[in-house]
Amino acid sequence: MPKLTVDGVELEVPQGATVLQACELAGKEIPRFCYHERLSIAGNCRMCLVEVKPGPPKPQASCALPAAEGQEIRTDSEMVRKAREGVMEFLLINHPLDCPICDQGGECDLQDQSVAYGRGGSRYHENKRAVTEKYMGPLIKTVMTRCIHCTRCVRFSEEIAGVDEIGALYRGENMQITTYLEHAARHEMSANVIDLCPVGALTSRPYAFEARPWELKKTLGIDVSDACGANIRIDSRGREVLRVLPRVNDDVNEEWISDKARYMVDGLVKRRLDRPYLRRDGKLVPVSWNEAFAAIAALNPGSSIAAAAGDMADCETMFAAKTLLAALGSSLLEGRQTGMDYDTSNLAAVNFNSTFAGIESADAVLIVGSHVRWEAPLVNVRLRKAAKRGAKVFLIGPEWETTFGGEFLGEDLSLLGNLPAHVAEALKGAARPAIIVGGAGLGRGGLEAALALAGTFKLVRDLEDGSRWNGFNVLHMAAARMGGLMLGFAQKGGIADLVAAKPKVLLSLGADEVDYARFAGSMIVYLGHHGDKGAHAADVILPAAAYTEKAGTYVNTEGRVQWSDKAVFAPGDAREDWTILRALADAFGVSVGFDSFEELRGAMISQVPALGGEGLADYGSELPPGGGSAAGTIAYPIKDFYMTNPIARASATMQRCSAELLHGEHFAEAAE
């Protein structure tokens, strides 16, 4: 623990800290461009210069200098001030200063820092450098003349994403950042380089010239495109969501989000259900709310009603539906739309127990039936970190391009009962062994067989440091899954139980993956926001709110309870889901016991107390013994990363990504 002084204030910093970190601990702001907490240290922008004694009598780059005992650091001396001004002047020599037409304007590190630390004027009269634009795909817009060569994007793609595709070509003044042969960046996290870029060289292509940051209302939300529950900031203007940015949460998404989470929001204004519809003579015709409710109530289903929750439903919606069904005398609730029927009596057995942060420290990981890059890109980042620390990773399932190495053992679930010797050896010898069961590994006895392995290899154990390790993980794909399971949206036989009950009314809470042909005898009431598969099959459509248009509770695959706020209003006649269900209760003439969102949330929390606070829900750490045998070839459920939910399917950006990045379609660049 070195002791040093920063601007005359003495403090102690952790071993291994850099001078820059020491200054931050002392509360001093150090300007920087290339340094980033989550990337390796490059030390090439020179903006973080400080004066350090003892040492050479010149300013030193604090980001790359280890803090040492007895250092006297000055961040406020004349030398430091002049050094910063000098560096800034050099950086601006080849920077175009086109802030008025730059999308980064208003949230630009270079802009802010030149105001705070620059000279205020230039002495440079020669010609500036110009660099040709580089094509980086449908998401990233480039204006490479603005690049200051911090290489954050290069380090991100190499270290975090694990797909080496961005590099710095040529040298010196001619250095240019580009992707190989200007191919599109091909990974699921590519757009994070836009946030990392401290200048306007890499900006968001779909958001280009849409808004200035100070015009936007910022709402804290939770992403629903997968089950990771990434923390996002929803930036909206008026009634439109313009963009989504990640929020920092080290437990969940660090500061990354997937491209789908970031860019599917333009689908929020397409294919929207903005008024109720009723099927008359086989055709959906627009009707008023009263007509729609009257048509449902006329059926008088009594207890012959079931509810299927979609992948993006929030807990409040599901709880409101549950209460409504309970008031009618039914408990036919199901959220696993595709027919999964794994046992949910112990939620610890279907939870990501090691947590995302914890899986980084695992030293042997067996992944069963999960295309992690597509099912949970944020978990893929964690697995890459684990592998870089030396974890051995084995995968069961069809091969896909991993970013962390790993050994594919085969495609058949029966491998679970018959692990190759070296895999068993690795799991047995590991201090922190982990198993990750993905969506494709849950069925056909896979969960039980994996649980049996969890017992064999003692995945639940006390570690040497006294903490508890639970390495049994289930990786879900639906944002609604864990919340739904906590609220009891699971039948013993899965959705087949609902089919067998032949309900008069099937309440579909945005469920778009259900095979509605099996409910041919039921009236399908679709509460949702997009005219997708569910709406096509519906007999009554009740337009509801998307995730940006309602406050809600979401539980991610770790069992982490998180709250999302309402950013904008739903379009047209669409209403928040819970109000529709409340009105439906009136139409049926039953009482559900809540009249406001607060009452609804209060009732939900009193029934499921774990939903009452943000953070990990406690499911206990005892796993059921499992057993039995699993067999069958694994096929991953996600066929197209960019098209997994109705919002993404409606999004022009996601459609283009899918066509260009996954299906190899070629798009001509528009002449600029």
């Binding site: 080496d164 590099g167 070509l169 040298r171 190989y180 042969l181």
Partner: protein, 222 residues
């Protein structure tokens, strides 16, 4: 230097170089080069392998050799490294040619000592023979580049042609060298001044003359 840009990827380029592979002799050399580095650090061999590849391309084309994209990909595949990292190396170092080049790469030093000793005339002599900076002559013989200091200041001005340095040049001496090269001969590398063998003083020493025969203490004369 500023004109250095990578030759764009094209179907013709792929057709010509897509099935590039080491010649039998170079395959042995490549193996030996890779073996110089510890297990798991084979990427360190990227620079010698690129040089080898450039020479093989040169031998095939009877030119100085350059690195087409498919050849860089071949090297990347052999070393199991991302292709972008190979391109970074190839574009950083100017001794890798990233665009087609002539049989003789004439690199004229224009840094201060050479300039003081007449590199402008050397450059003019090159241009008089039809060479143009950053271009190859139509007959495919000469490519001209201006470079920075090559470390031959004691025998300035100099040019580097392919792997050899030619020093103490005058326009006439340069013409003699270039003519000899054009005829297919190999002129003597090094100084072109008949009065010199290497960089020893021409005629009598002008500096430290008193030191020639014996040790001399200059300190009293400062």
């Amino acid at each position: 230097m500023a004109d250095r840009t990578i030759e764009p990827d094209s179907p013709e380029l792929r057709a010509r170089w897509g099935n590039f592979a080491w010649s039998a002799e170079n395959a042995v050399k490549a193996k030996e080069i890779v073996a110089r580095y510890p297990e798991g650090r084979q990427r360190s061999a990227v620079m010698p392998l690129l040089d080898l590849a450039q020479r093989q391309v040169g031998a095939e084309l009877n030119t100085q050799g350059w690195l087409p994209i498919p050849v860089m990909e071949y090297v990347a595949a052999q070393l199991d490294m991302p292709i972008i990292r190979v391109v970074e190396v190839a574009t950083f170092y100017t001794m890798y040619n990233i665009a087609p080049i002539g049989r003789f790469h004439v690199q004229v030093c224009g840094t201060t000592p050479c300039m003081l000793r007449g590199s402008d005339e050397i450059m003019a002599a090159c241009k008089a023979r039809g060479m143009k900076k950053g271009h190859t002559t139509a007959d495919g013989l000469w490519s001209l580049t201006e470079v920075e200091c090559m470390g031959n200041c004691a025998s300035a001005p100099m040019v580097q042609i392919n792997d050899d340095n030619y020093e103490d040049l005058t326009p006439e001496r340069l013409d003699a060298v270039l003519d000899a090269l054009a005829r297919g001969e190999t002129p003597k590398p090094g100084t072109q001044d008949p009065a010199r063998h290497t960089v020893e003083p021409v005629g009598a020493p002008t500096n430290l003359a008193a030191m020639v025969g014996e040790n001399h203490d200059y300190r009293g004369e400062w």
